[in-house]
């Protein structure tokens, strides 16, 4: 019986440590917290916008592309994902 409070305290501490370990606690100046590394990276990704110049360059590049022959349009290419 005497061990009960100690055990409970130990369990509580273990839980706290686990929680702390699971959390990527990044307190920024505004006190933002992230629950995991992935969440932190997702937030970072959400703040990054591809420069509009890429879409413009891409549009120009696509306009310069020669029109493909019908058989390539129908059957595509053999190798695509390298």
């Amino acid at each position: 019986m005497e061990n009960q409070p100690n055990k409970s305290r130990l369990e509580h501490r273990q839980r706290e440590e686990e929680t702390a370990e699971q959390r990527t606690t990044d307190k920024t100046k505004k006190g933002r917290e992230f629950a995991s590394v992935e969440e932190l990276l997702r937030f970072d990704a959400s703040q990054v916008t591809p420069p509009p110049a890429i879409a413009e360059r891409l549009k120009e590049s696509l306009e310069k592309e020669p029109r493909q022959p019908w058989w390539r349009r129908v059957f595509g290419r053999r190798r695509t994902d390298s």
Binding site: S36, E39, R42, V48, R67
Partner: protein, 194 residues
């Protein structure tokens, strides 16, 4: 693990373009839709991998150009996102293996870590986000490239562990094991940046 993702609210799986559709047929909307749905992820992966906004811009352009050229050959054996990631990873590897990248780009330069424009106009928020981005980049730079790639891929909730495993050419179990170590290593490095 709790995932309060911004991703789920901003995109759904895109319609795969009709097989064989040439780039010209994608003009006037469709190619732009595809680009808008996926470019953020392609660009972010490239940016955090090659650590240079200009190179990331070139890679994103090349990846989508290649994608539009080859959409006819897309067999739907994987999701389009996975397919784009595969091309991005290969392109990043090519860029990283060039002499120029290895010798001229200095990732220690604050200019390189400045990164691209962010989503907001609030100067304080911009500063905060920029600083956080720099810390993340610094932490990722300190990791083995395999770990940083795993973390960046797993952060995209559209990818399953199996897809990440396929992209990184290993089993899903290996991904889980390495991911555990990658998270710990990242946290350690990230805390050093405080």
């Amino acid at each position: 693990m709790e995932m309060n993702s911004f991703i789920s609210c901003m995109d759904s799986e895109p319609a795969i373009p009709k097989a064989g559709a040439p780039p010209a047929d994608l003009g006037g909307g469709t190619w732009l839709d595809l680009y808008e749905q996926h470019s953020r992820y392609v660009y972010y992966l490239a940016l955090r991998t090659v650590r240079d906004p200009m190179l990331a811009e070139d890679i994103t352009h090349d990846v989508f150009l290649k994608a539009f050229r080859n959409l006819g050959g897309f067999r739907r054996q994987s999701s389009l996102r996975t397919w784009l990631y595969r091309v991005t990873i290969n392109r990043c590897r090519t860029v990283q293996s060039t002499w120029h990248q290895r010798n001229v780009i200095s990732t220690d330069s604050p200019d390189v870590l400045d990164g691209p424009s962010t989503n907001t106009e609030d100067p304080l928020h911009v500063l905060e986000v920029k600083e956080l981005g720099q810390r993340i980049q610094t932490a990722l730079n300190a990791l083995p490239s395999e770990y940083s790639l795993l973390l960046l891929l797993v952060a995209d909730e559209q990818l399953s562990y199996q897809e990440v495993a396929t992209l990184t050419e290993q089993s899903a179990d290996a991904v889980r094991g390495k991911l555990y170590r990658a998270r710990r290593a990242f946290l350690e490095e990230f805390r050093k940046t405080e």
